[in-house]
Amino acid sequence: MSEQNKQVHEAADGDRRDFLKVGVGLAGVALAPGVLFYGISAHGKAPDAPASTAVRWGMLIDTGKCADGCNSCTTACATENGLSGQTGPQDSQWIRKMHIKNLQTGAEHNLPMLCQHCENPPCVDVCPTGASMKRADGIVLVDRHICIGCRYCMMACPYKARSFVHEPLTDQNPEVPRGQGCVESCTFCVQRVDRDETPACVEACSKDGHMAMMFGDLKDPNSDIARAMQSYATTEVRADLGLNTGVRYQGI
């Protein structure tokens, strides 16, 4: 190869290298947000990926900030999940406001009560078909396809957190399928959580400025909820049952 040709080839190789460098750089710039988004989406979970045991979703409720007479959380829950919002004995209530008063001291508290998303849920234990189940990330759900409507889970739940659909349903939220004759309860708004959003009740409470409800990953030591639970004394309702609830209360 002549010296001239060699120089031409070297020049061409240099161009190719530059082109590849620029190309890879551009591709990196184009893909990086996606990769980054994929990486951090839903606290480490891609939208189509299965729930992971690396996460445990939980909720911390500060009863001191839960306002008397405020029903933002229950209203938001009904809207998000397509519930009627009625409060008759046969109506579904996935979350309810409780008022409690200490019989000795007279101290009063308001708090929302919902499925406590137990680590050892009695509803899952007793369900004959396995319709009551716990996701890997700790969210307790009912598989509407195999629930036979025996209501044994309602007998077993210590928190009275479950409702039975007593009548035909209309105008359902497509994201939250419900079914007559099936049992249902709070899902932590799993459809929102999987989109990296917080449950509707938590969002509504924050929007109204109460900030009484906090949602997050209990297994992530840097999450707000984990930090708060490290800093303050929190209570597990019916701790005597050893269920290790995902919902904790502060101030009672």
Partner: protein, 403 residues
């Protein structure tokens, strides 16, 4: 003797058989109408709600399931423990066990929110659930008792009746243990959550099953104008007394234990004193009608010679048994869950208040459907096969029963 006492085609009047069939059929039709009505409109047409989730259908159904395992005891005493008087009654006992279990399960299934998914219950099992375990026990019960009946009634297979009878006896003990545990495993409710439920339900099943057997046998004897021998009556009534007494004992232990625990005081006060219908049914139904009164009748002078008195005592045990199931199942749910001990609680979801329950006509019809199923199976079975007990009196010890 067999020629005189059979109810089957060769000697019983057809018109009477058809009358019984129509009676049972009409009730079952009412049940099916209620079932489809509830299926269409949802459980909103019943008195059950999110507080009292199990209602009258479960009272009847669980009673039948418990009594079904108990009624098999008559056969078990014959086959397993070799008592000839009971052996003569083993086929009737086995048939009644199958009929009552079918009735009980029918009641449970018809009340499901999604009865169309029965196949799901048969194909998806969560083995940690005592309910799922019960499904296996119930299916196994049908198979084993069916086989047992074949060995009892077949001329060539009689030698197998003892081992198969033993298996049926052990299986029924396990089944009733599992049925009682449906309540025993409910950790959070004040009315349940006790290991005592398993043996207590076994004792209840002994009493209810034997009472059901005595009632059916009495009707069959009466139907054929046969007087039951007093030695047989004496033994059956005394055995019933033992079971009724044992049932009262277990009931007393359960409540006395609860009364000892301060955390259970409110519940016991509710159930035994202040809960309205529940103390009434407990003391008046379960204890008095279903316990004390039958015992007094059984041990009253001349009871061994009075089939009507023993029949009535057995009938009272059955009525008391339904009262017990109502108190156990509905009373246990009517008392509110205590989420925050030491606090007064209220909410839009009826926290902290005693839950009302008024059954609607529809669930009453569902409830009696189980009895109709058991009744129809019994009537047809008695018609087509020989289930009438045939005693060989030379085998019965004349002095064995004096009271």
């Amino acid at each position: 003797m067999a020629e005189n006492v059979c109810m089957n085609r060769s000697c019983a009047k057809s018109s009477e058989f058809w009358t019984l069939l129509v009676m049972g059929g009409v009730v079952l039709l009412g049940t099916l109408a209620a079932f489809f009505y509830i299926e269409h409109h949802g459980h909103i047409v019943t008195g059950m709600d999110n507080q009292v989730v199990w209602g009258l259908p479960h009272v009847f159904a669980i009673f039948l399931i418990v009594a079904a395992s108990g009624v098999l005891n008559v056969a078990s005493i014959g086959s397993v423990f070799g008592k000839k008087m009971y052996k003569a009654r083993a086929p009737l006992s086995g048939m009644l066990a199958i009929a009552m279990l079918a009735g009980g399960l029918g009641g449970v299934v018809l009340d499901l929110g999604r009865p169309d998914r029965l196949i799901v219950a048969m194909t998806h099992y969560n083995f940690k659930s005592i309910f799922a375990v019960n499904v296996l026990f119930y299916n196994g019960f049908f198979a084993i008792v069916g086989l047992y009946l074949i060995t009892l009634m077949s001329k060539n297979l009689k030698q197998y009746s003892k081992p198969v009878g033993l298996l049926a006896f052990l299986w029924r003990l396990a089944l009733t243990t599992a049925t009682g545990s449906i309540f025993g495993f409910l950790v959070a409710r004040a009315g349940y959550n006790s290991a005592l439920y398993a043996p207590m339900f076994i004792i209840y099943s002994f009493a209810y099953g034997l009472a059901a057997f005595i009632v059916v046998q009495s009707v069959m004897y009466k139907w054929n104008n046969i007087e039951v021998d007093e030695r047989i009556l004496c033994r059956l009534k005394n055995l019933l007394a033992i079971f009724v007494g044992a049932g009262l004992y277990f009931t007393a232990v359960l409540h006395l234990t609860n009364i000892y625990f301060a955390k259970q005081w409110d519940f016991e006060r509710f159930l035994l004193l202040e809960g309205g219908i529940y103390p009434l049914l407990f003391w008046g139904g379960q204890v008095l009608l279903g316990g004390v009164l039958p015992l007094l009748m059984i041990f009253s002078p001349g009871a061994r010679k009075s089939p009507p008195r023993v029949f009535l005592a057995a009938l009272l045990v059955l009525i008391g048994g339904h009262a017990q199931m109502y108190v156990t199942i509905i009373g246990g749910q009517a008392f509110p869950l205590n989420l925050f001990p030491g606090y007064a609680q209220s909410s839009s979801f009826f926290d902290g208040v005693v839950h009302a329950y008024t059954p609607s006509l529809w669930e009453m019809l569902l409830g009696v459907g189980g009895i109709a199923i058991a009744f129809l199976i019994t009537v047809i079975a008695v018609r087509v096969l020989k289930f009438m007990p045939e005693d060989d009196f030379k085998d019965i010890d004349l002095d064995a029963c004096k009271n």
